[in-house]
Structures are given as structure tokens and as C-alpha cells.
């Protein structure tokens, strides 16, 4: 091999090693910071792991929201209107569009008692917008599986904007 080829070979091997190392790091670190989403049925059936950070979601059960009278603690029940429901505990400010009957997401951990300790509550920004994770759930107790225009929620205006996020409010 002539020196020039050799140099090129070394460079290629070096670049491959660096690229491989970075990819491995990416997979490793994204795996550590990845939150799985679980619908209510999975939370109830025990498919969702206890004591790990995860995301769950559902509709806020009517008349289930209870505020503490001394601090910002709140509890409510999330349901899929199909019989699966679980309670959520949270301390803090709820998003603007948190309402009974609305679809919301919670991030946090599941306790062994089956209560979800939320560190974050995410709701949609817009009346017509559905949190992506809840698209597959039934929104109404009655049979009306998807909200109108589900493919392109009318939050397109917000999507045009980079800072709006994936249309969540937290």
C-alpha cells in the first residue's frame, strides 16, 4: 500500500470508530432518558412498571378532581371510558386546558399501590387538538372514536411555530 492510501485508510478507520462511538453513546443515553407511554388499560393491568419514570394518559374523570385546601396538591382520576381507570397525585399548577372530560398526559412514577405520582401534567393547547399519545383512545363515553380532523388537528397554526412545542402546555 502506498503511504497516501495508508493515510486514507487510517483516516477512514478513525472516522468510523468515532462515528460508531457517538452512535453507541446516543443509543445508550437516549435509552436512559426515554419515557414509554402507557394507556390506562396498561397501567391498571400492571403492564406499566412500578418505580420508573413513564408517561401515561387518559381522560380526566368527571367529578374526580380534588384540590387540597392548604397547598397546591391535587388528585384526579384518568380513564379510558372502557373500564380502566387510575388515580393521579400531583402538586403544582395545572395547565390552562386541564378540565374534567379532557384528554391529558402525565409524566411521573407509578407507586406499588397503583397511584400515579405525577411530576408533570401536560394538556393540549387548543380546544380541537388531541395529545398525540391519546389519538388511539376513545375520547367520549359514547361511540365517537376520533375527534374531527384528527389527521391534521387544527393546531397546524401552532405547528408552524417552532417554539410552540408539540402543542403541549404544562
Amino acid at each position: 500500500m502506498n503511504p497516501k492510501r495508508k493515510q486514507r485508510l487510517y483516516l477512514t478507520v478513525f472516522l468510523l470508530l468515532v462515528a460508531g462511538g457517538i452512535t453507541a453513546l446516543l443509543i445508550q443515553i437516549s435509552g436512559e432518558n426515554m419515557n414509554m407511554f402507557y394507556p390506562p388499560a396498561d397501567v391498571v393491568s400492571g403492564k406499566a412498571p412500578v418505580g420508573q419514570t413513564l408517561r401515561a394518559g387518559g381522560m380526566v374523570q368527571e367529578n374526580s378532581v380534588q384540590r387540597s385546601t392548604t397547598d397546591l396538591g391535587v388528585t384526579f382520576v384518568l380513564t379510558d371510558h372502557q373500564g380502566a381507570e387510575f388515580s393521579v397525585q400531583y402538586t403544582g399548577i395545572l395547565p390552562d386546558l386541564f378540565r374534567e372530560g379532557q384528554g391529558i398526559l402525565v409524566e411521573g412514577q407509578l407507586t406499588p399501590q397503583g397511584i400515579f405520582q405525577a411530576t408533570e401534567v401536560l394538556a393540549k393547547h387548543d380546544e380541537n387538538y388531541m395529545p398525540p399519545e391519546l389519538m388511539d383512545l376513545q375520547t367520549q363515553p359514547s361511540a365517537n372514536p376520533t375527534p374531527s380532523g384528527s389527521a391534521y388537528p387544527s393546531a397546524t397554526g401552532m405547528q408552524s411555530d417552532p417554539s410552540l412545542g408539540s402543542a403541549y402546555d404544562s
Binding site: I22, L25, L26, I29, S30, E32, N33, M34, N35, M36, F37, R55, R67, T69, T70, D71, L72, G92, I93, L94, D96, L97, F98, E107, H125, D126, E127, M130, P132, E133, M135, D136, S150, A151, Y152, P153, S154, A155, T156, G157, M158, Q159, S160, D161, P162, S163, L164, G165, S166, D169, S170
Partner: protein, 644 residues
């Protein structure tokens, strides 16, 4: 009638784009055709402008028979929001995109006499081809002029309240000017590959356009971040959200390009790499458009249900990336430079800069696409949180700062070791000051002290070199621009480090006349008053802040919009160069109590000021004598050849 006129004008712009593309890419061999391209470029811009004005007019007169207007506007909307609602949704914002594309093309053709005629013709041809792709997308998949006849609604659905804001009036145009502006260096790279000529002169031509586009993109992103901070009502300024990342990725590629171009211009090396970056930067603009516009973020499933827009962009993206990379593969190999450089040289440090920026790009790309890929493959849903991005961006950012500090004393090709004495001295001073900051603020956060020390180091070395040059009387605009941009980066990093670790954030339950303490200030809640806006009713909280001698009142609002019934939180901010006091209303609790969010955010403004300084530096560099001189020099002989 007017909307149909707009539709027709857009179609005409498309037809002219076909003409411009054919003539521009075929024309270089036929001098007669070159002039035709110029007029077709002006035509595309003119007709896009007519289409855009037609849509603005439909908004101004509340023409709800146009579906897009009915979805985005409302008679109660103040006139300025009616105008800005034009680009508040998908279809209209894409029309704005096309108008801005036309504007860049016209800007280029006005300067086209600076370049050899066939090069300029090829650039305009490539730009017309891209514009054709955009116009077809608007016409066939997202036409803003579609009518709702005979089912015309009497009232519009209203603009999303979050978008009823000054930030939205200016943010998309700036951001799009950056996105689309990257098409110019892309087209220049394609033209250079077609010509088989990539050299220092080409890099010099490319630099001014890249800098301008990059400056727009920087301002657009900074403005978006500022807007999110005051408008979303919870005090964050960056969320690593896919839509934010869509704008951050082309920015990272463009930043790498700005630096790589400097090497190609000054040393004639890095040529193939520079061309590849020019292609990459614009490709990421398109990828961003795909991520934001296709609905793939909402759900892979919903994308599969109505894939028209997404598929269109995906195919367009594949054609642009595939075509330009094929051309690159065929032509770029011919341009290897025999220019050597040592480790302690400006070239090598530019290489470090480029590697860090490209790795950052890979990180953002992975963090954005992995959830989408996971859903497509397994059907499950995951989210990748901020810790993932921080794990990479904290070390990468610090590394970049550390490399940047050496730059002022580095020469091209090789640098004598003796000149580094001043760099070590600066490091010593910065280290001591950083140590003081560490003690003063928070002995636990060594990383913050490190970031502050590194930023100080950058400021010191850059300041010293600027001073030395100033005394010698040789500070070209490009040098000043570079220094300002680097100072902006250092200050922005300090802002990020301090505000993300030293902020005080408390969410509390407050009853009227109760008070709380926030970072040495006293905050008294004086109850709620009702106020009326043009299209909303609001509950306004009165918060008196006592900060030593200073007393002022903050008035955050909870707004209820009449149309659509949306609720909006309007934060009240007492801005300061060194710290913001931020209060927003949560929800009403039992009795008269309210959930209140109160933040104290030190140096948060430095994040955006740093970005603005960077953008300003980039623009300043464009006005350097060597670029202005080049314009004059090239204009003179070409003017003659036209008249001859």
C-alpha cells in the same frame, strides 16, 4: 374574485418557475436565454406577491368564504392580528415561505452582475427549480384560496390566542428568511458543482449570502425562544421540542458552513466539505419543513391516514438531497487541494468547530427522529426528554468554548508556540474569576463555574486581540463581526448556565393580601380585578413587588377568549438586564385563593442578547471591505460586456 386572482397568480408564478428552471439550467450555453431567466425570477416574485396580498386582503375584509380565513380569523380580531393571521396557519405560512423565496431570488438576481453570467444563471435556475417544488406543494396539497361555498360560515373560528401576539407577527417571517435563505448557498454549491469550479472566489461569493441567511435564522430562533418564554406562561425558554429542533438543526449546519467557508476562502482547502455542508444545511431546512408540516409529529398513524402533504415533502426532500448528493459524488472528488496545515493552526481549530457542530447536529437529529422511528417500528410511543439533550450539549458547548478561546492568536497554517503566553494568562485570570463565581453562587455547581470561566477566557482573548488590532488601526468589519459573534456566543452561554441553575421557581397557593418571598424580594398579592380586551375578558392579578427601595406592580392575566372559548395565561414580567421577575396566574382555588407561579430568572436575557449579538456580527461581516470591493470590481467589467 380576489382569492381566485391570488390562486391564478400563484399558478402563474409556478409556470414562470418552470421557465426559470429550464432556461436557467439549460441557458448557460445560450447567452440570449440568460436574460430571460432574470425576468422570470422577477416574475415569480411579483406573482407570489400578488397571491400573498390577495390572501392578506381576504383576511382584512373577513372573507370567511375562504376556508383558510374561516379557520384562522374572526371579526373580533384586532386588524393587526388579522394581517398576521395570514401566516398563522399551515397554508398561509407556506405562501409566506414562497414569497420569501421569491424575495431572496430577486435579491440574488439584483446582484447577479457580480458573478460570471453562466454561474449566476445556473444559481437562478436551481433556485427556480426549488421554488417550483414549493409552489406545487402550495397549489396541490395546501392551497390557501380554497372556498367554502355555499356553506360559508358567518363567523370565523378565530386565531389561536397564543398566536395573537407581537412575537408571532415577526417570528415566522424572520425564521423563514433564514430557512429559505439557505437555498442560496445550496444553489451556489449546485452551480459550482455543475461548473466544476469550487475555489476561494466561490467561497467568497457564498459567504455573504450564508451569513445573511444564518443571521436571519439566528434572530428567528432567538425570537421564538423569547416568545415562548413570555407567552406560554411557564417561564421556560427552550424545550427541546421537535418543532424547535427542526429550526435548530439547519442552524447548526449553517453555523458549521459559515466557519468552513472561511477556511475555503482564506486557504482554498476544505472545499468538498464546504460544499457538502451547504447541501446539508438546506436539506435540514427541508427536513424541518417535513417534520413540522407532515403531521408525523402528531402521530405516525395520522400521517399514514392522510399522507398527502408529508409524502409530497418527503419525495421533494429525497429528490433534492438525492440529486444534489449524486452531483456531489460525481463532481466533488475533482477538487482536492494540496494545502497542508499543522495542529496549531486556524484550520485545525475550524475543524474542531465543525466536528463539534456536526456531532451536535447528529444528537438533535437522533433525539427528534428516534421517537418517530420507534412508533413506526413498534407502534409504542416514547418521549426523549431534556436530560438526553443536556447530557450532550453541556460537554459539547463547553468544548466549543474551550477551543474558541485560542482562536484570536491562531494563524492560518501554523502558529508559533510563544504567542500562546497571552492565552495562558487569560486562562489564569478567567480561572480565578470563575472560582470566585463558584463560591459566590453555589459551591455545588462546578459546571456553572466552568462555563463562566471558559466564557470569560473567550472574552479576554478576543478582547485583547481586538484591542491590539485597534491600536494598529486595522480592524476590518469582518474581524469586528467575528469578534462580536464570538462574544455573543460566550455571553449566551453564561446566560444559559446561570439561568438554568440559579433561577428560583416557586408555585404557591396565595390568598389576597398574603405575601411570599422570592429571591430577596417580597411579593404581595392584592387580589384580582376584571378587565376587558378587544376579543377577550380577563382576570388580572395585582402583585406588588417590594425590592429594597423599589416598588412596582405586576399584572399577570388569565384570559378567556370569546371565540373558541380558549383560556390563556399572560405572564407579567419585570425585565432586567441581570434578572427577570416573572409572575403568572395558575388556576383559581377555593375561596379567593389562586395558584401562583413566581420565578426569579437571573441573566435569562443574556441568552437572547447573545444570539442577537451573534446575528449582528454575522451581518457586520458582510459589509467588510473585501466583499464590497469584490462587488465593485466584478460589476465594472460585466457592465461593459452587457452594453457591448
Amino acid at each position: 374574485m380576489i382569492p381566485e386572482l391570488g390562486n391564478f397568480a400563484l399558478a402563474l408564478a409556478g409556470a414562470l418557475a418552470v421557465g426559470g428552471a429550464v432556461l436557467g439550467l439549460y441557458g448557460p450555453r445560450q447567452p440570449v436565454l440568460q436574460h430571460g431567466v432574470l425576468s422570470m425570477v422577477f416574475g415569480q416574485w411579483g406573482f407570489s406577491l400578488i397571491a400573498f396580498v390577495a390572501l392578506v386582503y381576504a383576511f382584512a375584509v373577513d372573507d370567511f368564504s375562504v376556508a383558510y380565513v374561516a379557520n384562522q380569523s374572526n371579526t373580533l380580531l384586532p386588524w393587526y392580528y388579522k394581517i398576521s393571521a395570514t401566516w398563522g396557519g399551515h397554508e398561509g405560512s407556506f405562501l409566506l415561505w414562497i414569497l420569501i423565496m421569491g424575495t431572496w431570488m430577486v435579491a440574488f438576481s439584483l446582484r447577479s452582475s457580480q458573478f460570471p453570467p453562466h454561474f449566476a444563471t445556473r444559481v437562478m435556475g436551481t433556485l427556480s427549480l426549488l421554488n417550483l417544488g414549493f409552489i406545487c406543494f402550495a397549489l396541490f396539497t395546501s392551497n390557501p384560496f380554497l372556498r367554502l361555498i355555499p356553506l360559508t360560515p358567518a363567523e370565523g373560528a378565530d386565531l389561536n390566542p397564543l398566536l395573537q401576539d407581537f412575537g408571532l407577527i415577526v417570528h415566522p417571517p424572520l425564521l423563514y428568511a433564514g430557512y429559505v435563505g439557505l437555498a442560496v448557498p445550496f444553489a451556489m454549491a449546485v452551480a459550482a458543482l455543475l461548473e466544476g469550479r469550487i475555489d476561494a472566489t466561490w467561497a467568497r461569493w457564498c459567504r455573504t449570502w450564508t451569513n445573511m441567511a444564518w443571521a436571519f435564522l439566528t434572530c428567528g430562533i432567538a425570537l421564538g425562544s423569547w416568545w415562548a418564554y413570555y407567552e406560554l406562561g411557564w417561564g421556560g425558554w427552550w424545550f427541546w421540542d421537535p418543532v424547535e429542533n427542526a429550526s435548530f438543526m439547519p442552524w447548526l449546519a449553517a453555523t458549521a458552513l459559515v466557519h468552513s467557508l472561511s477556511v475555503t476562502e482564506n486557504r482554498g482547502t476544505f472545499k468538498s466539505w464546504t460544499v457538502l455542508l451547504a447541501i446539508t444545511a438546506f436539506s435540514f431546512s427541508l427536513l424541518g419543513a417535513f417534520i413540522v408540516r407532515s403531521g408525523v409529529l402528531t402521530s405516525v398513524h395520522s400521517f399514514a391516514v392522510d399522507p398527502e402533504r408529508g409524502m409530497y415533502i418527503l419525495i421533494f426532500l429525497a429528490l433534492v438531497v438525492g440529486g444534489s448528493l449524486a452531483l456531489y459524488a460525481a463532481r466533488a472528488g475533482q477538487n482536492t487541494a494540496k494545502v497542508g496545515y499543522e495542529l496549531l493552526s486556524r484550520e485545525f481549530f475550524m475543524l474542531i468547530n465543525n466536528v463539534i457542530l456536526v456531532v451536535s447536529l447528529a444528537v438533535v437529529l437522533w433525539g427528534t427522529l428516534a421517537p418517530i422511528g420507534y412508533e413506526a417500528l413498534s407502534g409504542g410511543r416514547i418521549s426523549i426528554g431534556t436530560p438526553f439533550f443536556n447530557a450532550f450539549f453541556v460537554p459539547l458547548g463547553l468544548l466549543l468554548l474551550g477551543a474558541l478561546a485560542w482562536l484570536p492568536v491562531l494563524n492560518w497554517k501554523r502558529t508559533r508556540v510563544e504567542v500562546f503566553t497571552s492565552v495562558y494568562q487569560a486562562l489564569g485570570i478567567a480561572g480565578v474569576l470563575g472560582g470566585l463565581v463558584w463560591f459566590a453562587l453555589d459551591p455545588a455547581s462546578l459546571l456553572v463555574a466552568g462555563a463562566v470561566a471558559l466564557a470569560l477566557w473567550v472574552l479576554l482573548t478576543h478582547g485583547r486581540q481586538l484591542w491590539l488590532r485597534w491600536r494598529k488601526g486595522s480592524v476590518p468589519a469582518a474581524y469586528l463581526g467575528m469578534t462580536l459573534a464570538h462574544v455573543g456566543f460566550a455571553l449566551g452561554t453564561v446566560g444559559i448556565a446561570i439561568t438554568s441553575t440559579q433561577s428560583v421557581e416557586s408555585d404557591v397557593r396565595m390568598t389576597p393580601q398574603s405575601s411570599m418571598e422570592l429571591a430577596g424580594k417580597q411579593l404581595i398579592f392584592n387580589g384580582i380585578v376584571e378587565v376587558q380586551g378587544p376579543n377577550y375578558a380577563a382576570k388580572q392579578g395585582l402583585f406588588e413587588v417590594i425590592d429594597g427601595e423599589r416598588r412596582y406592580t405586576l399584572r399577570p392575566e388569565k384570559r378567556q377568549y370569546f371565540a373558541g372559548g380558549n383560556t390563556m395565561t399572560e405572564a407579567a414580567i419585570a425585565p432586567g438586564l441581570f434578572a427577570d421577575t416573572y409572575v403568572s396566574l395558575g388556576e383559581p382555588l377555593e375561596g379567593d385563593a389562586w395558584a401562583v407561579r413566581a420565578h426569579y430568572k437571573p441573566l435569562v436575557r443574556w441568552v437572547w442578547l447573545g444570539a442577537l449579538l451573534m446575528a449582528f456580527g454575522g451581518v457586520l461581516a458582510v459589509f467588510d471591505k473585501r466583499y464590497v470591493r469584490q462587488r465593485r470590481r466584478l460589476q465594472a467589467p460585466n457592465a461593459e460586456s452587457v452594453t457591448a
